[in-house]
């Protein structure tokens, strides 16, 4: 995706007579499709997500079904990826864990967006000096706390639950969303189409939700997808430390931590969830990169 820079120049041509059916959705999709790697990543990601979501429909053993007669087996027809130390089906557990990881990453990302973006738009577009510095300094403070420490503190206070841990991670993500949307909104605020829509009698709320949001969406889309990848890593890290998902429920992080003890005898138990984490993060990062490229050619102020 980085190798071919076509996406940037692929915005619909400004030649008079360009057919109106060359809408930006079509244009954006076309330039996205030119990023070969991103296209492959998208296909892989969709397959993985669909498989994990539809796993309950597949004829797999239940992910938490213990069968002590077949511990630590290698791949076979009955267990495509083998079994773990309690004889649970590794494939079923990985799919269940992926589902949890995706959900956790989504939760953290949405939390970050909900906290950061509205405040960023508000202070960037409207911000008086006082409001701007109060809010900005608050987010600076928040960012000075490491995400994991914040998550540990919140989990310690509220209890060991994935939801709490991921909301904490989302809070730690929010300063980036705040800063990006604030900067973009401040740029847009000076554009003359904002003044023009004021001169048409539009309300500030309407201006912010259409013109400002419409023009800051490019950097935000790229940031959101990158953050989603970090969310998957954060969930794995927290569960590895025992702060997220609790046994026997499967998560990529807990699977890694239990398999780590058996690294010498059964390395595949470590490699499989590890590969899944890598695959998810890689695909999402590649897609995020391409999205950043594609959307920056459109919508954002020149």
């Amino acid at each position: 995706m980085i190798a071919d820079g076509f996406g940037v120049t692929a915005a619909p041509s400004p030649v008079a007579g360009t057919p109106a059916d060359d809408s930006w959705q079509v244009g954006t999709w076309r330039s996205f499709a030119r990023h070969r790697a991103a296209l492959v990543a998208l296909v892989v990601l969709v397959l993985v997500v669909l498989t994990s979501l539809l796993a309950p429909l597949l004829e797999l053993p239940a992910p938490n079904l213990v069968n002590l007669l077949v511990p630590l087996r290698g791949p076979s027809w009955g267990h495509l990826l083998g079994t773990d130390q309690l004889g649970r089906d590794e494939l079923a557990r990985i799919l269940a864990a992926t589902r949890i990881s995706l959900w956790a990453a989504l939760l953290a990302t949405v939390t970050g967006v909900i906290i950061g973006v509205p405040l960023g738009l508000l202070t960037g577009f409207r911000g008086g000096r006082i409001m701007d510095s109060v809010v900005s300094r608050t987010f600076d403070c928040l960012q000075s706390i490491p995400a994991l420490i914040l998550a540990i503190a919140i989990v310690a206070a509220l209890g060991r639950q994935l939801t709490y841990a991921m909301v904490a991670v989302g809070i730690a993500f929010s300063p980036t969303f705040y800063r990006v949307s604030r900067a973009a909104a401040a740029t847009v605020a000076g554009e003359s189409y904002i003044e023009a829509s004021r001169s048409m009698g539009q309300r500030t709320a309407k201006i912010v939700t259409t013109h400002v949001l419409g023009n800051v969406s490019a950097p935000l889309i790229a940031l959101t997808s990158t953050t989603f990848a970090f969310g998957i890593l954060a969930e794995a890290a927290l569960s590895y430390l025992g702060l997220g998902v609790q046994p026997p429920q499967a998560s990529l992080g807990t699977m890694l931590s239990t398999a780590a003890d058996l690294l010498n005898s059964s390395p595949q138990l470590t490699i499989e969830p590890g590969l899944m984490i890598m695959l998810l993060v890689l695909c999402i990062s590649v897609i995020a990169d391409a999205l950043g490229d594609v959307t920056s050619g459109h919508g954002s102020p020149r």
Partner: protein
């Protein structure tokens, strides 16, 4: 103003003073501006950059960035209703419905992220009760009205798919979407090339006529004034220095600044050089106590012109000039 005359006037700006408000107090930028706009008249406001013409039109719309620039005095009456006393909410329904505005640069005054149709529709839906399809129908009519060929195709175009002239036509369509009584065009042709300029001016004049609008056009281009305006107000250093009908102003200017501006026009068939005005206009905050043009004026007399600010006084039928010597000087217009 006599009560009778209020009915014939669309817009009256009286003693409007706009000042930059900073930590160290106020610096007036536009001082004591009086403007009247009769019904269905096209008024040109001419001045160089920084003379306060754009600020005046933004002040009429109350669109000044109030964190730094404020109206400190004066009144703006729209058919007798003082706009400066309205609440922001009331003012919002005046903007776009009673007064439409066109901006200088059509490249940046349309939002690149939305289609032309969406942007026209949002104006219509703000001020009218039209439903979605009715509003779309109206938008198509508006695009046809401003001379855009094939509106059905153009309505779903993004601004970057249109040429500069077409974008300005779209801006005009948005400004007149709710059939405002007053149209303010702030340098509507400055960013366009010469042939497009003439077309856009013709369009504005034609629409003003068809929709019975009263129009203010601010410009630094006397050619624009000559082409479309009925009456002209000349601004210099934040003040109006002369107001007259276009003909009178061009043929018989009554203020030395106007004369100098006319002498600066290139003319076909007249030998000799164009004459510039030596020096720079004074900056806001360091206006001289007397006539603001005196330091550059070839006719300035030392005690009379520099001691106190000359008032804007009547110098003939419905015309005024801010010069103490306007009666004694015989200034050259074009064609003289």
């Amino acid at each position: 103003m006599a009560p009778g005359s209020a009915t014939t006037l669309a817009l009256e700006v009286e003693a409007l003073t706009v000042a930059f408000v900073g930590r160290r107090g106020q610096v007036p930028i536009v001082t004591g501006t009086d403007l009247t706009l009769a019904r269905r008249e096209i008024l040109g406001v001419v001045g160089e950059s920084g003379s306060g013409k754009s600020l005046t039109s933004l002040a009429i719309m109350r669109l000044l960035d109030t964190s730094s620039v404020r109206i400190v005095e004066g009144s703006v009456r729209l058919f007798g209703r003082d706009l400066l006393t309205l609440s922001e909410r009331e003012m919002r329904s005046v903007r776009g419905r009673d007064i439409g505005m066109i901006f200088q640069d059509p490249m940046t005054s349309l939002d690149p992220a939305f289609t032309v149709g969406y942007q026209i529709l949002s104006v219509l839906r703000r001020h009218t009760d039209l439903g979605r399809s009715a509003a779309r129908q109206r938008a198509l009519e508006l695009l046809a009205l401003v001379g855009i060929g094939d509106p059905r195709r153009r309505i779903d175009s993004y601004p970057h798919q249109l040429s500069g002239g077409m974008r300005q036509r779209v801006m005009i369509a948005m400004a007149i979407a709710c059939e405002p009584k007053i149209l303010i065009a702030d340098e509507p042709t400055t960013a366009l090339d010469a042939t497009t300029q003439a077309q856009i001016l013709e369009l504005i004049r034609q629409l003003a006529d068809e929709l019975h609008m009263s129009t203010i056009i601010t410009t630094h281009d006397l050619g624009v004034v000559a082409e479309v305006c009925d009456r002209v107000a000349v601004m210099y250093a934040g003040q109006i220095v002369e107001q007259a009908s276009t003909q009178q102003l061009f043929y018989h200017p009554k203020h030395p600044y106007t004369e100098r501006l006319l002498l600066g026009l290139p003319r076909i068939g007249v030998a000799g050089q164009m004459v510039g005005i030596p020096g720079q206009p004074p900056r806001a905050g360091s206006f001289p106590p007397g006539c603001r043009f005196a330091p550059r004026c070839p006719y300035a007399l030392v005690p009379r012109c520099v001691e106190s600010l000359p008032p804007l006084r009547d110098v003939g039928e419905s015309r005024s000039a801010r010069c103490v010597r306007s009666d004694e000087l015989s200034l050259t217009g074009i064609g003289a």
